[in-house]
């Protein structure tokens, strides 16, 4: 049977690639501290020795559009090209190509449907920075096959937070029931408080540092009950108009399990938004 080698939740900051590769006067003052935190975070995946990465993210109106919008979608294809013109333009992200694992994708689709999630699928999916950012930070070699899973945190009506948690719990069960002897890391990215295109954007910190502090505590301690008691589709408007991306963190709390304390917790207070990094080892910390 497959083993969940690591569960990883992270923000996906599209500026990291440019900040970390800039030199001289172009290199921002926070770049070195950011790179150090990312390298420590990367090590948490490396030492888990994964064979396959399940990657949870959210398309930012790239391939998925309002004429045909899925709530949850699994990519099932031999390859995934990655990054889009507007991400090259705004963030300097490189074009990439990642291999897919169709067998695991098929297992998740079939058994996810049977478990009560009417998952959409795509056999030709160009993925965006919600998935390539964690590849760049956690596995820059981009040498492992992936199964991308997209969630809709972007185009209302959205599924409720509890549904994201349930999907995370189901993904964990689906990976553990895959009858193939592989080590699978489940990685998902979202946001803490975030404002995009509104009056609170691009401030000295994230738009709601108090929410960010609580969110990091919920995630680090696996406090699903506390998180679900406070977080609703309505409440997520308060910390910032793009904070619904926090539901992908809640999905990953579902993957990690209620009460599961993260084995690695780190954060970095940047302008515009706070970064946060979490790793769990469900089967014990690797030697």
């Amino acid at each position: 049977m497959a083993t969940v080698a690591a569960v990883i939740a992270s923000t996906h900051h599209p500026f990291y690639y440019r900040a970390s590769t800039a030199t001289g006067a172009d290199r921002p003052p926070f770049a070195d501290a950011w790179v150090a935190k990312i390298e420590a975070f990367r090590e948490t995946l490396t030492k888990a020795r994964p064979d396959i990465l399940v990657m949870v993210g959210s398309d930012h109106f790239h391939q998925l559009w309002l004429d045909n919008m899925p709530q949850f979608l699994v990519g099932k294809a031999p390859y995934f090209d990655a990054n889009w013109y507007n991400e090259e333009r705004e963030f300097g992200l490189p074009r990439m190509r990642l291999a897919g694992d169709e067998q695991l994708a098929g297992h998740i689709l079939r058994n996810g449907l049977d478990a009560g999630f009417d998952l959409a699928f795509s056999n030709e999916l160009r993925i965006d920075h919600s998935i390539t950012c964690p590849i760049i930070t956690l596995r820059p070699e981009a040498d492992l096959p992936i199964v991308p899973i997209y969630t809709n945190i972007f185009a209302p009506p959205l599924p409720r937070p509890g549904r994201f948690v349930e999907l995370g719990q189901t993904i964990r069960q689906l990976v553990e029931s895959w009858p193939i002897d592989k080590r699978v890391a489940i990685i998902g990215t979202g946001h803490l408080s975030l404002e995009l295109g509104g009056p609170r954007q691009f401030g000295a910190h994230g738009p709601d540092p108090e929410f960010d502090r609580k969110a990091v505590d919920w995630i680090a301690s696996g406090d699903l009950d506390g998180c679900l008691a406070e977080v609703t589709l309505d409440s997520l408007h308060l910390p910032g108009n793009a904070t619904h991306g926090f539901m992908d963190f809640m999905l990953m709390m579902g993957v990690a399990g209620a009460g599961a304390k993260a084995d690695h917790v780190d954060s970095l207070d940047l302008f515009h938004t706070m970064e946060a990094y979490f790793t769990w080892y469900p089967n014990g910390v690797p030697a």
């Binding site: 109106f61 790239h62 309002l66 333009r89 295109g197 009056p199």
Partner: protein, 119 residues
């Protein structure tokens, strides 16, 4: 009101480098051409099978013609789409993050709840 069509304009322009430049330099002409030629095109269908009913309101058309990101916000256009496209068009005229901060300041009069973006 047609938030969907506003978003469709922003989406289809933002993903095309030539349309980004065309909209930057000739907003009125681009909006007029786009509404006539593209507003009713279903994005993954052949042109002959286009829609027949999509049209901007006068207010929406004016907001697009005037590059008025504040009005687009008020009309419920998706703020991510507006921000991304407007950064592509206007960040180049400003110092680092100047444009993004000014964009936010121009919206300061808006307290929660923001205009509904559901389509």
């Amino acid at each position: 009101m047609s938030k969907y069509l506003l978003n469709k304009f922003l989406y289809t322009v933002d993903r095309d480098p030539q349309l980004v430049e065309r909209y930057r330099t000739d907003a009125a002409g681009t909006v007029e051409w786009w509404e006539r030629e593209l507003a009713n095109q279903v994005l993954n269908c052949v042109v002959a099978e286009k829609s027949t009913w999509l049209v901007f309101t006068d207010e929406e058309r004016a907001a697009l013609r005037e590059h008025d990101h504040v009005r687009l916000f008020e009309l419920g256009a998706h703020p991510f789409l507006t921000l991304t496209l407007f950064i592509a068009m206007f960040e180049r005229d400003h110092g680092p993050l100047e444009y993004q901060k000014a964009y936010g300041r121009a919206l300061q009069q808006h307290a929660l709840p923001y205009p509904d973006i559901a389509t």
